[in-house]
């Protein structure tokens, strides 16, 4: 099935089987490997991307359902001038250890901050509640999202 996958503002025409997951197509057809597959089962959030600005677990979402819609992956956060403020805040706070959860955390946090620019810690916890991290213990991630909040 031929669809137009719009990722980070660029349209990629792809010809795929309708049962392919969005994360698989992003990684294997388009070559954007920033989106991770942890559980591949809608549990861990490593595969989180934005669809028209809202978070979606791309491992469990059919790629064909995104035809003509706007997908944003972690590769779409930085621009020519460098990292997005949220990405910098994650590094500064020490919210990244092995880094496997980081793309998903960044996408959930981006969605949260665009809806709610000054979230409380409780709201950050809820916003990131679909993302598991096995390294950091979450505190530094929450700090990073909180410290970035006022400036976004």
């Amino acid at each position: 099935m031929k669809i137009n996958l719009n990722v980070n503002g660029v349209t990629f025409p792809v010809d795929i089987e309708p049962d392919r997951s969005l994360s698989g197509v992003l990684r294997n057809e388009i070559g954007l490997t920033g989106t991770k597959e942890g559980c591949d089962d809608c549990e861990c959030g490593a595969c989180m991307v934005l669809l028209d600005g809202h978070p979606v677990n791309s491992c469990s979402y059919l790629a064909v359902q995104t035809d003509g819609r706007q997908v944003t992956t972690v590769e779409g956060l930085a621009d020519a001038d460098g990292l997005a403020p949220l990405q910098q805040a994650m590094l500064d706070a020490g919210g990244v250890q092995c880094g496997f959860c980081t793309p998903g955390m960044l996408m959930s946090a981006t969605a949260l901050l665009s809806e709610n620019p000054e979230p409380t810690v409780e709201e950050i916890r809820i916003g990131l509640s679909g993302n598991l991290c096995r390294c950091t213990g979450y505190a530094k991630i929450i700090e990073a999202v909180g410290s970035d909040a006022p400036s976004t």
Binding site: M1, E17, P18, D19, S21, D40, D41, C42, E43, G45, M48, L51, H54, P55, V56, N57, C59, S60, Y61, L62, V64, Q65, D67, S108, A111, L112, T120, V121, E122, R125, I126, G127, S129, G130, N131, G137, A139, I142, E143, G146, S147, A149
Partner: protein
């Protein structure tokens, strides 16, 4: 596999008449297929872009009914002013579903048509006396949610019928609702058991009428019978009576999440808390959605430990 994005409602109904299954958010359908529960159907029709299925009418019609399109997401329901005002129990339920991603992608139509006995919108809808509007190329009909579920994954709706909307009668004065569930984690979790209540109060603060429905204690969401017993009782006494009736009437299974005895006991506790929260709301008190978080049912809650500081005690 064939996959078509429906352009109009009629288009979707025609495809369903020739055997296509609808997909909205896919959070049950796709996840279930990937877990090996049931393979993806041979033909799918995507209904999630149909604007006619995506709106909420908060009671502007003559009968004041609240009408929620089948493809309205849990996130929209949980944050919708009219729903929070009129049927807060449904907002409680939707705001507990999965994670922010699950709530943005998952729909109310998918939730009720998937017919899981653990669905979080089922009990609040049953307690509110809701009806489901279904349509096919043969016409459309309205059926009470009480008649919708036959068993786990089974509904009384034919395979060519699409759920178009959910209709909720407008609650009268001094009437409100609440939904609470027992959960082991705060997120990405389904109910161990749950209960939804809708209560009307008399001027003296006693219960004028009540309806209560239970989650995950039977093959389908069930309504508690015999609630005329609580009419005229003050909320505390009514809640204790409802707890007893709920435990007596539940017929839960044992699985790795809980034993049948534990479920039978805790569903009574949830039912009494739902009744108390619904009574307080009916009396005019504001209890933020969801009751699980604002009242601290289940795992940790705001005000408990974290408020607005990080683990290091840094104020944000």
């Amino acid at each position: 596999m064939q996959f078509v994005i429906a352009e109009t409602l009629e288009h979707a109904l025609e495809l369903m008449a020739s055997g296509s299954r609808p997909i909205a958010g896919g959070t049950d359908l796709v996840v279930g297929a990937r877990q090996g529960k049931e393979p993806l159907p041979d033909a799918l029709v995507a209904i999630d872009r149909l604007g006619v299925l995506a709106s909420i009418d908060g009671g502007t019609g003559e009968d004041g009914e609240i009408v929620i399109g089948a493809c309205v997401s849990h996130a929209t329901i949980a944050g919708h002013g009219d729903i929070i005002d009129l049927v807060p129990g449904l907002a409680d339920g939707s705001s507990l579903v999965g994670s922010p991603a699950t709530r943005h992608v998952g729909t109310i139509g998918g939730n009720i048509m998937n017919a899981s006995p653990a669905m979080d919108t089922g009990a609040p809808l049953l307690a509110a006396g809701a009806a489901v509007e279904v349509a096919s190329t043969r016409g459309s009909r309205l059926l009470a949610v009480a008649d919708l579920w036959l068993g786990p994954g089974q509904t009384s709706v034919d395979s060519d019928e699409l759920c178009v909307a959910v209709h909720i009668p407008r609650p009268g004065p001094r009437t409100s609702s609440a939904y609470v569930r027992l959960e082991y984690r705060r997120t990405m979790e389904i109910a161990v058991v749950g209960a939804g209540a809708q209560v009307s109060l008399s001027d003296d603060g006693s219960v004028a009428s009540a309806s209560v429905a239970l989650t995950a204690v039977a093959p389908v969401i069930i309504a508690v019978q015999g609630l005329s017993e609580v009419v005229g009782l003050q909320p505390g006494e009514a809640a204790r009576t409802v707890a007893r009736l709920a435990s007596e009437q539940s017929r839960p299974i044992s699985d790795l999440r809980a034993s049948d005895r534990y479920r039978r006991h805790t569903v009574g506790v949830m039912a009494s808390r739902a009744v108390l929260a619904a009574c307080r709301r009916a009396a005019g008190e504001e209890i933020a959605v969801p009751v699980n978080r604002s009242e601290g049912i289940g795992a940790g809650y705001p005000g408990d430990a974290v408020a607005n500081t990080t683990a290091d005690g840094v104020e944000l």
